[in-house]
């Protein structure tokens, strides 16, 4: 248990130290040392896990006083934070935020002092395979982003010389975020989970608003309000669960759901709703897109290893409770997750086509992929959980790499527009190669994301909802288009470009290089991941409910996994085959006979030398961002209203 505690507390200690330190050098040392320590501790936990298996911690035996103290401390912090949100809401005239703060925190406090007081939590903390996977993602990818931020924020400060240096605050928030994430993945006590959940909301609020421009403030409040809605759902779920079922444990909730499905229908739906807000699913996707105003490390952190992953983590943990049973053939919460996820996947993928801002493409792709994860988790079936977990892993590694690459490109070419990235191979060859690896890993066979998509398709056939299947089919076809055109733009070889790669900071290279290595390693070793962590997780979750053979049936066959591995190896070795064969005579490209032999200009009318430029296709007429969002929001709101109404109807019927 001490490791779990230290994983939550160590980032807090580092965060506080970073808040106090002003010097560049000291901060660099502290961030790197802290990151290494946190990463090493996560790996140590993994090793411990492989030796002695998963663990549940009962604090009531020896640590009762400690547990009680932690409970009160959390409550005190929550109250302070509620006051802060209330005050900020008043100051910036965002009264909805203030209202939500005074609504949910008193509600929570009231519950904890009344009904909640008598409910005993047996296991407040735990870790299992899924926690280990998440801990590795947070501990390795999250910290790599923090290291990257060192170099990036130097540039950032350099670009904004008239701003006061608020980097201590920035790094404080980054590390606090990591601590909260550890809290989420290790807490079985829903009240604790809720506390960490709210901390991530607050951290993202401050990080998004970091630059304090008008846009940043507006977007940060949007993120805050949307996530406070989710938080309110969380509070209500806890209260209903405590009142009706007398438990405040995540594991207890899932166990009860297997037998008395209708009794926990409402809390499940509310928790899925909370997950949807945090995972930036439609209709709440706009907060994640707005989060782009923040410095790039923030986006990378929010999109890959923290925040949105907390949302899908919660839904994934609840997933076994969605398993259709004979008494409840359709799970309301499962339907909510599947429908909202599938609609989001389709509409966000479409919207990505119309974007030329690289960060917005990445953001829509994140929203879409999270949608797919939520959809898979919503099936409540072993295959769905397998696909969702694999998607989480691959998405975390790849998306963080891509965000950081775009951040570095932006600082060096002065633009984050994909149109400005043509010929990047000439200007920043190594960075371009990293980006190409990242993009290819997002959508091409035989890389990991595609393996997970494949598994998702297979498992969705059993979701008893073929419309979802259709949405995923169309969504994945659209995905190929937007990645393909970006990839093409990167690969275009434009004549006469100077190499400007030298100015990239070494911290940035270190992080980018490690992430590329992780992407490749993940693609090669994923069958091991599957066998050692994901499948045992599924077996432990479904052990009693589903026969073992049928679990195997839902997973991609091992032979398929090996074929994919061989294909990855072939792709890595391919360039070697063509090494040294490039000694051909070079000819200029065809420009209808008017080219000027430098591949940049042609002879226009009146003998005027004209430079040509090539632009990608954004298909506004089909996939205009506004329209895609509108359709998605209307559809998902209808789904949410429908599910809430039907659950409420059942509850009312039961009450009478």
């Amino acid at each position: 248990m001490s490791i779990v505690f230290s994983l939550i507390l160590l980032p807090v200690v580092v965060a506080v130290a970073l808040l106090l330190i002003r010097g560049d050098q000291a901060r660099g040392v502290l961030v790197v040392a802290g990151s290494i320590l946190i990463g090493a501790l996560s790996i140590y936990l993994t090793v411990r896990f492989f030796i002695s298996g998963s663990a549940n911690f009962n604090l009531n035996e020896n640590y009762e006083a400690l547990a009680e103290f932690v409970g009160y401390a959390m409550m005190a912090i929550e109250i302070v934070l509620a006051v802060v949100i209330f005050a900020l809401g008043i100051k910036y005239k965002k009264y909805l935020a203030s209202l939500l703060a005074v609504l949910q925190t008193p509600l929570m406090v009231w519950f904890e002092f009344s009904a909640g007081k008598d409910i005993e939590v047996e296991h407040a903390l735990y870790y299992d395979q899924l926690s280990i996977i998440m801990a590795l993602i947070i501990g390795i990818i999250g910290t790599l982003i923090c290291v990257y931020a060192l170099g990036y924020m130097k540039d950032f400060q350099h670009h904004h010389p008239d701003e006061p240096d608020r980097r201590p605050w920035f790094f404080f928030l980054l590390f606090l975020f990591l601590a909260a994430m550890y809290g989420i993945v290790f807490s079985n006590n829903l009240v604790w989970l809720y506390f960490f959940w709210e901390i991530t909301t607050l951290c993202s609020f401050f990080l998004i608003g970091f630059t304090k421009t008008k846009e940043a403030v507006n977007n940060s409040f949007r993120a805050l309000i949307m996530n406070l809605f989710g938080g309110l759902g969380f509070v209500l779920a806890i209260i209903l669960l405590g009142r009706d079922s007398g438990t405040l444990e995540l594991s207890g909730l899932v166990q009860i759901a297997a037998v008395y499905t209708s009794q926990v229908a409402a809390p499940l739906v509310l928790l899925v709703f909370a997950g949807i807000t945090k995972a930036a699913q439609m209709p709440f996707n706009s907060w994640l897109l707005g989060a782009m105003v923040a410095p790039t490390p923030t986006s990378a952190l929010l999109h890959s290893s923290t925040m949105v992953k907390a949302g899908v983590f919660l839904i994934l943990k609840l997933s076994p409770a969605f398993l259709p049973t004979s008494s409840a053939p359709v799970s309301a919460a499962g339907t909510l997750a599947m429908m909202v996820g599938a609609i989001t996947f389709l509409m966000a993928s479409c919207a990505a086509i119309s974007q030329s801002n690289a960060k917005r493409v990445l953001a829509y792709s994140t929203v879409a992929n999270l949608g797919l994860i939520v959809t898979c988790a919503g099936t409540g079936m072993p295959g769905g959980i397998w696909a969702a977990t694999m998607l989480i892993i691959f998405h975390a590694v790849t998306k963080s790499l891509l965000f950081l690459c775009v951040g570095t490109a932006e600082h060096n070419i002065g633009s984050r527009d994909i149109e400005d990235m043509d010929g990047l191979f000439g200007r920043m060859p190594r960075l371009a190669l990293f980006m190409v690896i990242g993009i290819a890993a997002m959508f091409l066979a035989p890389f990991g994301m595609l393996v997970s998509k494949w598994a998702a398709l297979e498992s969705l056939i059993y979701s008893s909802n073929p419309l979802i299947l259709l949405m995923v089919v169309f969504g994945s076809s659209v995905t190929v288009f937007y990645w393909g055109k970006w990839l093409g733009k990167m690969l275009a070889i434009v004549a006469k470009r100077d190499n400007i790669q030298q100015s990239v900071h070494k911290e940035e290279w270190a992080s980018l290089g490690s992430l590329v290595a992780l992407v490749i390693a993940a693609c090669i070793t994923f069958p091991a991941f599957s066998q050692k962590l994901v499948v045992p997780f599924i077996v432990s979750v479904y052990g009693g409910m589903v026969p073992l053979e049928s679990i195997q049936f839902f997973l991609l066959g091992t032979e398929n996994l090996y074929i994919m591995m061989i294909m990855v190896a072939v792709i890595i070795l391919l360039p070697l085959l063509f090494l040294g064969k490039g000694r051909k005579k070079l000819a200029p490209i065809y420009l209808a006979g008017a080219g000027l032999d430098d591949n940049l200009k042609f002879m226009g009318s009146m003998q005027k030398e004209t430079e040509f430029s090539l632009r990608n296709w954004y298909m506004e007429g089909y996939f205009a961002e506004k329209r895609m969002n509108l359709i998605g929001i209307i559809a998902t709101v209808l789904v949410i209203v429908y599910v809430f109404a039907s659950v409420l109807a059942v509850a009312l019927r039961g009450g009478v």
Binding site: D422, G423, L444, A445, P446, L450, W454, L457, E458, I461, S464, P466, L469, L470, V473, F474, S476, S477, V478, V480, F481, G484, K485, L487, G488, K489, L491, A492, I493, V494, A495, E559, N560, I563, M564, M567, V570, L574, P575, L577, F578, K581, G582, K584, K585, L586, A587, P588, I589, Y590, L591, A592, N599, F612, L614, N616, W617, Y622
Partner: protein
Amino acid sequence: MTVMEFESILKIAVPVAAYILFAPLLGGLLAGIDRKITARMQGRFGPPVLQPFYDVLKLLEKEAITVNSSQDFFVGCSLLFMIVTGCLFFAGLSLLLFIFALTTASMFLVAAAYSSNSPYAQIGAERELLQMMAYEPMVLIAAISLYIVKDMTFNIGDMVSSGVPAVILLPGVFLGFLYILTIKFRKSPFDLSMSHHAHQELVKGLTTEFSGKTLAMLEVAHWYENVFLLGFVFLFFANGTLAMAVVGVVVCLLAYFLEVFIDNVNARMKWQFALNSAWIVALTFGAANMLIVYYRLFGGGV
């Protein structure tokens, strides 16, 4: 090694080897027949049936010229992945894996065209991406429908060896697949990304900047591709019996003839038509048929 193991390896190795060796011959021959039929339809005598082979042999002798050093690499990868994709198909592995590998092979080609930074090649490349987006939903719907009617398996080997011929339950999916096959073969009215005849706004599209050996590789890749695409058509008929196998091969040839015919009676349409019509076909013929077999098996629906 036991006899059983040996047999199961043979079962995979023989078709794969046959594919690698004979698919280009068959594909080249089909291309020659295509040109002959096309010529006759247009009132010309046409080239000899073996002309595609002569063309490729001639291309191989041309001087090695390129616009940049990375383009050849991508085209080579595209050919290699086309062959791999076909091998996955004829080894009887997962249909979904096959579809995804095909996407990768096509992406290499798109990458080659983009890398030239030539206006005509890049227009072709983007249109190729559009065509992929247009046909992919129907292909995936076909795969899922086959999965449902073939006793819940994506394994091509199992699909062709038992059950009822899929086309009986999936006539709509079959028609939808034939429709997008025109896009996949890049025949008029969907010869948007490249064309066998020079068009002024496109020149040769995707292939504008390829020459000599590179162009020859691309031709051969197409031959490989055409063979396994017709193999997909075959999936709708095969059920392990000789009679249905014969029917399947005949239908494949008819389908090919149909594509040639369509090519000759249509002018090129705008890209909007390709995208709209392919998605509408997928949503009506494809999706409707898929929903029917889905609800027939799992129950549910209204």
